[in-house]
């Protein structure tokens, strides 16, 4: 029994034109393994094959060659889909339905019994903060609201594996933070999360491991901390030190083997500043 959440072997996708001539090679020989319970980031510039990878994993596209397994099942197996939640890149949702109806529809596709379905829908709409707008058709939703309802439909079946394609695109920093908190929550519940994004800050904050794709080829894969840590640089964070003391420490370090690269005040990120200001104004 395969214990990994996702495994691919030589996954390749070549898009062909109408005459079945080779036109674009979207993904070439991808081999990745994602363990259960981790948050895995799939990074790359636009058109690098992230979405193609996700579609191949979900069986929305058929690979030109290679194979993939999700939760131990082949990804073309229908059974595995009941354990997967998927948030597409854009919210490919039916605009003529309202929030309740769309969750009900997707819930029915998973064969969730009516009573449980209704209670889950109530909880999800509440969790993603759309309770006041639950009867409004999706055509009147803002982009952020569409992302939220998209996320709600992705987890209606309480999946073991959640695949999120650009979950925070088009969201304001507060909503984006909320979604990131939600993703960390998934991890706490023991779910595996695959996160496709080109918003690097998001990925750095929450992913355990990442893979970087470019032009359909895997460039690098590994633990985020290990990939980012500069092993030969040491950082001290000190509070309330006078200017004289700083000079003294600097001369002390220079008298030993170290080189001082910079002595600055750390900056908080713009995101943190924004969040504090908004929270204060409430």
């Amino acid at each position: 029994m395969d214990n990994s959440a996702v495994r691919t072997e030589g996954l390749t996708k070549v898009y062909k034109d109408f005459w079945r001539r080779k036109s674009v090679s979207a993904l070439t020989n991808l081999n990745i393994t994602i363990e259960r319970g981790e948050i895995f980031g799939l990074l790359g510039p636009n058109g690098s094959g992230k979405t193609t990878t996700v579609k191949l994993l979900l069986g929305l596209l058929f690979p030109t060659s290679g194979k993939s397994w999700l939760l131990g099942y082949s990804s073309v197996d229908l059974k595995v889909k009941s354990k997967i939640g998927f948030l597409p890149e854009e919210s490919y949702l039916y605009k003529f339905l309202n929030a309740e109806e769309i969750l009900d529809f997707y819930g029915k596709l998973f064969d969730i019994p009516k009573i449980e379905r209704n209670s889950r829908i109530d909880k999800l709409i509440h969790d993603v903060g759309l309770n006041p707008y639950r009867k409004r058709p999706l055509s009147q939703y803002s982009k952020g609201m569409l992302r939220r309802i998209g996320l709600a439909q992705a987890i209606i079946n309480d999946p073991d594996l959640v695949i999120l394609d650009e979950p925070t695109s088009g969201l304001d920093p507060i909503a984006s933070r909320e979604i990131k908190d939600l993703i960390l929550d998934f991890k706490r519940q023991g779910k595996t999360v695959i996160l496709c994004s080109h918003l690097l800050a998001d990925v750095q904050n929450i992913c355990d491991r990442i893979a970087i794709l470019n032009k359909g080829v895997l460039q690098v894969m590994g633990n985020v901390r290990e990939l980012l840590s500069q092993k030969d640089v040491i950082e001290f964070v000190v509070k309330n030190l006078s200017d004289n003391d700083i000079l003294e420490v600097e001369t002390f370090i220079k008298s030993r083997s170290g080189d001082v690269l910079s002595i600055t005040h750390p900056v908080s990120t713009l995101e943190e500043l924004f969040l504090t200001i908004i929270q204060q104004s409430k």
Binding site: K55, L58, G59, L60, L78, K79, K81, S82, I84, F86, P88, E90, Y92, L93, Y94, F96, L97, E101, F105, Y106, K108, L109, F110, D111, Q153
Partner: protein, 213 residues
């Protein structure tokens, strides 16, 4: 599962404006149809309405629904809303079957609505017909052979056939509910007509009957 998708398809089209236009147009044609100029025969108007309904309104619905259903799936693929369903545990075959069921239900609904409107319209027009012509709408009643009878005054006789007043040439489909098969012959029924004709006016010729086997 198929029913879920069918219901969804149904709801999708109901909320699109095209269907409203289609039904509106159908109703409009039915309402206008009594005013189409016809011959002087009292029931010609009703006949015209029937022709308009079966040949214009029904055809319109067929074309409209074929158009809607043929564009439905390609439109979903273009919109990529299909990914939402495909990523759920539903096979592609069931999606197509669901779509077909949905549109079948939809066309049934449209026909029922327009049919009811048509029945009301025709009833209104035919209620103003003179007494003898009302029967035009009753041609498809079911008869039991044991209770089969025709009533009417004889009108004239030609080539040995008695013509009954108010009767006209035409094709009638009689379906009898109480016929039974003979055991030894599987492909034909034996029908025995026991006709009794009460003639109110004197007729010189003998009525001619056909017994069919």
């Amino acid at each position: 599962m198929i029913l879920t998708i069918a219901g969804h398809t149904f709801r999708e089209v109901i909320r699109k404006k095209i269907l409203h236009v289609l039904i509106g147009l159908g109703v409009l044609i039915i309402i206008v149809s009594p005013f189409i100029p016809t011959t002087d025969e009292p029931d010609a108007r009703v006949k015209m309405m029937l022709v308009v309904f079966f040949q214009v309104v029904v055809l319109l619905c067929i074309v409209g629904i074929v158009f809607l259903s043929a564009t439905s799936l390609p439109h979903e693929i273009e919109d990529r809303t299909i990914y939402g369903i495909l990523s759920k545990p539903v096979s592609r075959l069931k999606i197509v079957a669901g779509k077909i069921t949905g549109f079948a239900l939809l066309s049934a609904l449209v026909l029922v609505i327009l049919g009811l409107v048509n029945i009301v319209a025709i009833q209104r027009v035919s209620s103003k017909l003179p007494e003898g012509y009302r029967g035009i709408l009753k041609a498809r009643n079911e008869f039991t052979a044991s209770r089969f009878s025709i009533q009417g005054k004889s009108h004239h006789v030609r080539e040995g056939i008695v013509w009954i007043e108010g009767g006209r040439t035409g094709i009638a489909l009689w379906s009898f509910s109480d016929l039974y098969k003979k055991l030894d012959n599987k492909s034909s029924f034996e029908v025995e007509f026991n006709l009794k004709i009460d003639m109110l006016a004197r007729v010189n010729a003998k009525p001619q009957f056909y017994q069919q086997r």
